[in-house]
Structures are given as structure tokens and as C-alpha cells.
């Protein structure tokens, strides 16, 4: 177990290293920090002097080491647009994105498990066929179209729900502002969460169904049935437990997809989260903010992926953990 842990940690650090080099290369090539600092009206000599003072004439390697050292101490530069440390800007936007992801995950788990199990138990029933049909339609509709369709229906035509922004938020634990404590907040987060969930839900329903159908064929399920265990207990206690393993792995792979889809969803709903901020930063060529976003998202992504892998190693007793890293 320990060897596996070390191996995974090493791999996580390696990926993080690559992300930091890429981010630094972007910072090195994108925009001119001098122009952002002093504008156009400074003579070439002063520029050269500043360049030397700021260390912009050092080699790529020296500059990278300085960048990495600062990054490790939580300094990712100052956003050109917000005039604040980039990390502070991101941490202000982070709660909005996390709450959106939380809302979507809640919908995905809440619906995919019962639907997946049901369609596996009664694969030929009318309802199961409808669910499977809808799931393939769901996979085929891009997330921004779902979002637009919902805005058109619920915001423009019916005028039930708002179409953009976070609405009324309540501050809890200092900076963290939450949507879940006001009615207005709930109204605002509903559509974006459904839109974000819509693309993943069909995938998980299909996955749980496939795994569940396979599990239901196994000997121990037949034995439990013969023993007279109640069907509900077999489905949800005996069988479901064993279908969750692949679901965890696929879930881990989907984290990156989730990040991409938050960018899309936040753009359509003008949700003031990290994804929307990232696209704005790109349009403004706000280099420190772009780089900080890459590092923060990369970090979240590497950490969650490593945790998912470790959980997988822990809950799957059939796997020889020490060898898994090989």
C-alpha cells in the first residue's frame, strides 16, 4: 500500500510539474509585462534597466525556478485587470464554480443510481426503453444547447426562472458566498446545475446499467435470490456495491470534462465563477490570471484524480495495490 501511495504521489507531482512548466511557458510568451507596468511612454534605456531589474533577461530556467518558488509560496502574480493578486481573484470566484459542480453532482448521483438500477432490472420495460432512448438523445445534445433551450423555455417564454447570474447570495465562513440559503439563490442555481448535469447523466445511467446487468448474472446474486433475500436488498445492498467500482474510475476520468463544461455552462448563464473568469481573462490577455487559473485547476484536478485512484485501490480488494503502479 505504501509503495503504491508513493508511486501515485510521485506521478501527481510529475503531472503538476509539467502543468507548471506549460503555464510558465505561456506566461513567458503571452503579452509584455513591461507594457502593462509602465505603458508606451518610457524610453528604451529605462525599459532595459527595468527589464534587468525584473529579471526578464535571465535564462528561461532561472526565471522558471523563480516562478515555481513564488508559486509554491502562493504568489502567482497580480491580475492586470483586477489589480489584485491573481490567487485572491480566483479564490473569490471558486465558491460559485464549486457550488455549481456540487449542484450538478447531486443531480447526477440522485438520478443516475435509481435510473441505472431500474433499467438494469427491467431492461425491456417501457419506462426503461424510454430512459435509454432519452439517454442517447442526452449524449447527442451539447451542453450549451441544453442551456439555451432551458433559458428559452423557462426564462424567456414562461419567465419562471432567471437566465443569468447568481442572484442573492449569503456569505458564510468569510469569503464563501452560498446560493443554497435563499430562495432566489436556489432559483438561480437550478438551471445551470441541470445544464451541467445533462451531459454526464446519460453516461452514468448507461454505465451503471451495464455494470448492474453484468453483476446480476453473477453466482452470488443467484445464491442470494435462492436463499430468499428480498429483491430490493439484493439490488441495492448486494449488487450495487459491486457496480460502484467502475463508476468511481469513470467518475475520476470525468473530472476534467466537468471543468470544461463549467466553462461552457458559466458562459451561457454568465455565472460569476472561475470558468467565465478564465474566458474573460483570455479576451483581456490578463496573463497572470490565465496562468493562475491553469495552476489552480491543474492542482484541483491532480489532487482529485489521485484521491480517486487511492479510493479505487482501497475499495477494490482484488487488486494487488503494490503492483498497480507498475
Amino acid at each position: 500500500m505504501f509503495a503504491y501511495l508513493v508511486k501515485r504521489a510521485f506521478q501527481a507531482i510529475a503531472v503538476m510539474f509539467v502543468i507548471s512548466v506549460v503555464s510558465f511557458a505561456i506566461q513567458d510568451n503571452l503579452g509584455d509585462p513591461l507594457r502593462e507596468l509602465v505603458g508606451q511612454s518610457v524610453s528604451e534605456e529605462v525599459r532595459e534597466q527595468l527589464r534587468e531589474e525584473l529579471g526578464l533577461n535571465d535564462s528561461f530556467f532561472t526565471q522558471y525556478l523563480r516562478f515555481a518558488w513564488k508559486a509554491l509560496h502562493g504568489d502567482l502574480g497580480t491580475s492586470y485587470f483586477f489589480k489584485e493578486p491573481a490567487l485572491t481573484v480566483i479564490f473569490k470566484k471558486l465558491p460559485a464554480t464549486l457550488e455549481l459542480v456540487f449542484g450538478a453532482t447531486f443531480i447526477i448521483i440522485g438520478l443516475s443510481v435509481p435510473l441505472g438500477v431500474y433499467t438494469a432490472i427491467k431492461p425491456n420495460g417501457l419506462f426503461a426503453r424510454v430512459v435509454m432512448g432519452l439517454s442517447i438523445v442526452g449524449i447527442s445534445v451539447p451542453v450549451f444547447l441544453t442551456a439555451i433551450a432551458m433559458i428559452y423555455l423557462f426564462s424567456v417564454e414562461l419567465q419562471w426562472l432567471p437566465s443569468f447570474g447568481r442572484g442573492e447570495v449569503v456569505a458564510v465562513f468569510g469569503h464563501w458566498e452560498t446560493n443554497f440559503l435563499t430562495v432566489d439563490g436556489w432559483k438561480h442555481i437550478l438551471l445551470p446545475s441541470i445544464a451541467l448535469a445533462s451531459i454526464m447523466l446519460p453516461l452514468f445511467v448507461r454505465l451503471i446499467r451495464a455494470e448492474m446487468m453484468e453483476t446480476l448474472q453473477s453466482e452470488y446474486v443467484k445464491y442470494a435470490t435462492a436463499k430468499g433475500v428480498r429483491p430490493m436488498r439484493i439490488y441495492f445492498i448486494h449488487a450495487l456495491k459491486n457496480t460502484l467500482l467502475p463508476v468511481i474510475t469513470v467518475g475520476g476520468v470525468q473530472i476534467g470534462t466537468m471543468v470544461a463544461y463549467t466553462i461552457l455552462t458559466e458562459t451561457v448563464f454568465q455565472w460569476p465563477g472561475m470558468g467565465f473568469m478564465f474566458l474573460e481573462a483570455v479576451n483581456r490577455v490578463d496573463t497572470p490570471l490565465i496562468v493562475a487559473y491553469l495552476i489552480v485547476v491543474g492542482f484541483i484536478f491532480v489532487v482529485t484524480n489521485t484521491i480517486v485512484d487511492l479510493i479505487y485501490g482501497l475499495v477494490n480488494p482484488t487488486i494487488n495495490i503494490a503492483r498497480m503502479g507498475a
Binding site: V15, I26, N29, L30, G31, I136, V137, I139, S140, V141, P142, V143, F144, L145, I148, A149, I151, Y152, V156, S163, L203, R206, L207, P246, T249, V250, G252, V253, Q254, I255, G256, T257, V259, A260, Y261, I263, L264, T267, V268, F278, L279, V282, V285, I290, L294, F301, N305, A326
Partner: protein, 314 residues
């Protein structure tokens, strides 16, 4: 079928007849195929079908802007699906947009297939350290989702090169970035097939006959891995089209002067609140129908060919 039997190899013609039989038995597959063929033909012959050239801005008349489709009041018979805010004929724009979406989707999958099949064959056939290195790379590549990599890559290159240069090469960038990001899908499946086939006797006999590894990989093993490759390819084309549409929607894909379906949807989104629904809805419906029929065909093919796909690839 019998006439073909003599010309093609025995095994493949058997497989084909089975394939054709189940196709004729499946109404979903037939309808999907017809719809797909219609869309593909319309896209292919867009320059001849389209009433006007949607790329020629000189042909737009601002007086024609935001006209609704023909069947609505104020519809203009010149514009079957109405016009966009610039006075561009939506029908022509959709035909050309579909053409671009399909082109990018198919080319990107060709890149994926080439990379993935080569890497999969090498990893599976040679094995050992090279295999575990390549597969570890595939794992890492897969965990970064395509869309995430593509958004970041395109956003950064747009910022570095400026939008003029970016717009000029947008189509190649889209193909390359979607193509490169998804190679592990093929590589894993092909590798799994190679591992299963490698143990069989025909490979041993080919080796005994003195054929080189390249010939064995391409001429002997690869033909036996074709059915999973077909199945993956359909799903991958559908995914690539969605990715391209999403990227163009974000403004990171095709330039406004050459809109693909995603950009048409995005340009209509600003007008949806003022009631001009057709600018977004009609390209949206075309996109969904196109992706849906490809997915349905893929699903049907998966059922018929029933390849043992690499577990967890979906």
C-alpha cells in the same frame, strides 16, 4: 451477395452479409442511415444547393436582417429559414456550417485513428516497458478531457497569435487539437485486440515464415481489429462534432466570417431574448439531429459487431 463471394475473401463476405441482414432488420439503423446520408449529401453539395454564398459579405443586405422563416408572418420567400442579424441567408449558412462541422469531425477522427492505431499496434505488439510507458501516457492524456485541453490550448494560442492569424488557421488547429487529444481511445482498444490476437497461431506462423513485425502488425493483426475500430469511429465522429461546436460556441473555433454550426448557434443566442429564435434553433436542431443519427448508428453497430471494447473506455 453470392456474386461478391468469389471476389472478396470468404470470411469478410460472411461478416458483411450478416451485417447487411441485421441492418435491414433494424428500422432505427435504416432511418438513421437515411437521415445521415441526406445531411452528408446536402453538406457535400452545399456550394451547388445553397441559394447564396454565405461567406460573401457583399451579398448581404442589412435591410434583410432578422427575417423569420418562410412559414412565419413577415417571412420572405427568398429566405427559407430566415436571416441572421447581418442579413445572411440562414439556409445557406447552415448548409456551409454543416459542411465545416462534418469536415472537421471526420478529419479530426482520421488523425485520432492514425495516431491511436499506430500507437496501439506498437504498444501491444512490442509490449514490455514501451507498452507500459505508452499506456501510462494514454491514461494521463485521457484524464485531461479533450474539451478542457482544447479550450486551454485554443484560448492561449488565440491570445498569443492574435485573432487574425488564429482565424486563418482555425480549421487546422481544431482538427489537430481534437485529433491529438483523443488518440488513447483507439490506442487502448487496438492494444487490447493485439494482445488477444498475438497469441494466436496465425501470427506465430507468419513470424515463422519470416515476415517483419510491420507487415504482421498491419497486414495480419490489424484486419482482425477492424470491428471495434468501426464502432469507436462513429462515436468519435459524433464527439468530435460536439467538441468543435462547443469550441466555436465559445469563440475559440471557426471565425465569424466562416461560421460552423456552433458559431451560428452562438451568434443567435444574443437574439433569443428579443424573440428571434430561428437563428439559434434551426442550426441547433441540425446539429443535434446530425450527432444523434451518428450515435444511433454507432449504438446499432456496437450491438451487431459486439466487439469486446476496452472496459471503461466510455
Amino acid at each position: 451477395m453470392s456474386a461478391q463471394t468469389s471476389t472478396t475473401a470468404r470470411r469478410s463476405s460472411f461478416w458483411q452479409s450478416n451485417f447487411v441482414y441485421s441492418f435491414r432488420k433494424s428500422p432505427v439503423a435504416i432511418v438513421s442511415m437515411i437521415v445521415f446520408a441526406l445531411i452528408a449529401l446536402a453538406a457535400l453539395f452545399a456550394p451547388w444547393i445553397a441559394p447564396v454564398d454565405p461567406y460573401d459579405q457583399a451579398l448581404f443586405d442589412i435591410m434583410d436582417s432578422e427575417l423569420p422563416p418562410v412559414w412565419q408572418t413577415y417571412g420572405d420567400p427568398r429566405f427559407l429559414f430566415g436571416t441572421d442579424p447581418q442579413g445572411r441567408d440562414m439556409l445557406s449558412a447552415i448548409l456551409y456550417g454543416t459542411r465545416l462541422s462534418l469536415l472537421i469531425g471526420v478529419c479530426a477522427v482520421a488523425v485520432q485513428a492514425f495516431l491511436g492505431i499506430s500507437i496501439g499496434l506498437i504498444a501491444g505488439y512490442i509490449g514490455g516497458r514501451l507498452d507500459s510507458l505508452l499506456m501510462r501516457m494514454a491514461d494521463i492524456q485521457l484524464s485531461f478531457s479533450t474539451l478542457m485541453v482544447a479550450i486551454i490550448f485554443l484560448a492561449v494560442s488565440q491570445a498569443i497569435f492574435g485573432s487574425d492569424t488564429f482565424n486563418k488557421y482555425a480549421i487546422f488547429m481544431l482538427i489537430v487539437v481534437i485529433g491529438v487529444a483523443e488518440w488513447p481511445q483507439y490506442a487502448r482498444t487496438v492494444r487490447a485486440c493485439v494482445l488477444a490476437e498475438k497469441k494466436k497461431e496465425y501470427v506465430d506462423s507468419a513470424r515463422v515464415l519470416g515476415f517483419g513485425p510491420l507487415r504482421i502488425m498491419v497486414r495480419h493483426i490489424l484486419p482482425n481489429a477492424l470491428s471495434p475500430i468501426f464502432v469507436i469511429s462513429t462515436v468519435q465522429v459524433a464527439n468530435a462534432i460536439i467538441s468543435e461546436a462547443s469550441l466555436s460556441f465559445l469563440g475559440l473555433g471557426m471565425p465569424p466570417s466562416q461560421p460552423s454550426l456552433g458559431l451560428l448557434i452562438s451568434s443567435g443566442f444574443d437574439y433569443i431574448f428579443s424573440g428571434s429564435w430561428w437563428i439559434t434553433t434551426i442550426p441547433g436542431v441540425v446539429l443535434v439531429v446530425l450527432v444523434l443519427v451518428i450515435n444511433l448508428l454507432g449504438d446499432w453497430m456496437r450491438d451487431v459487431l459486439n466487439p469486446r471494447l476496452y472496459k471503461g473506455d466510455k
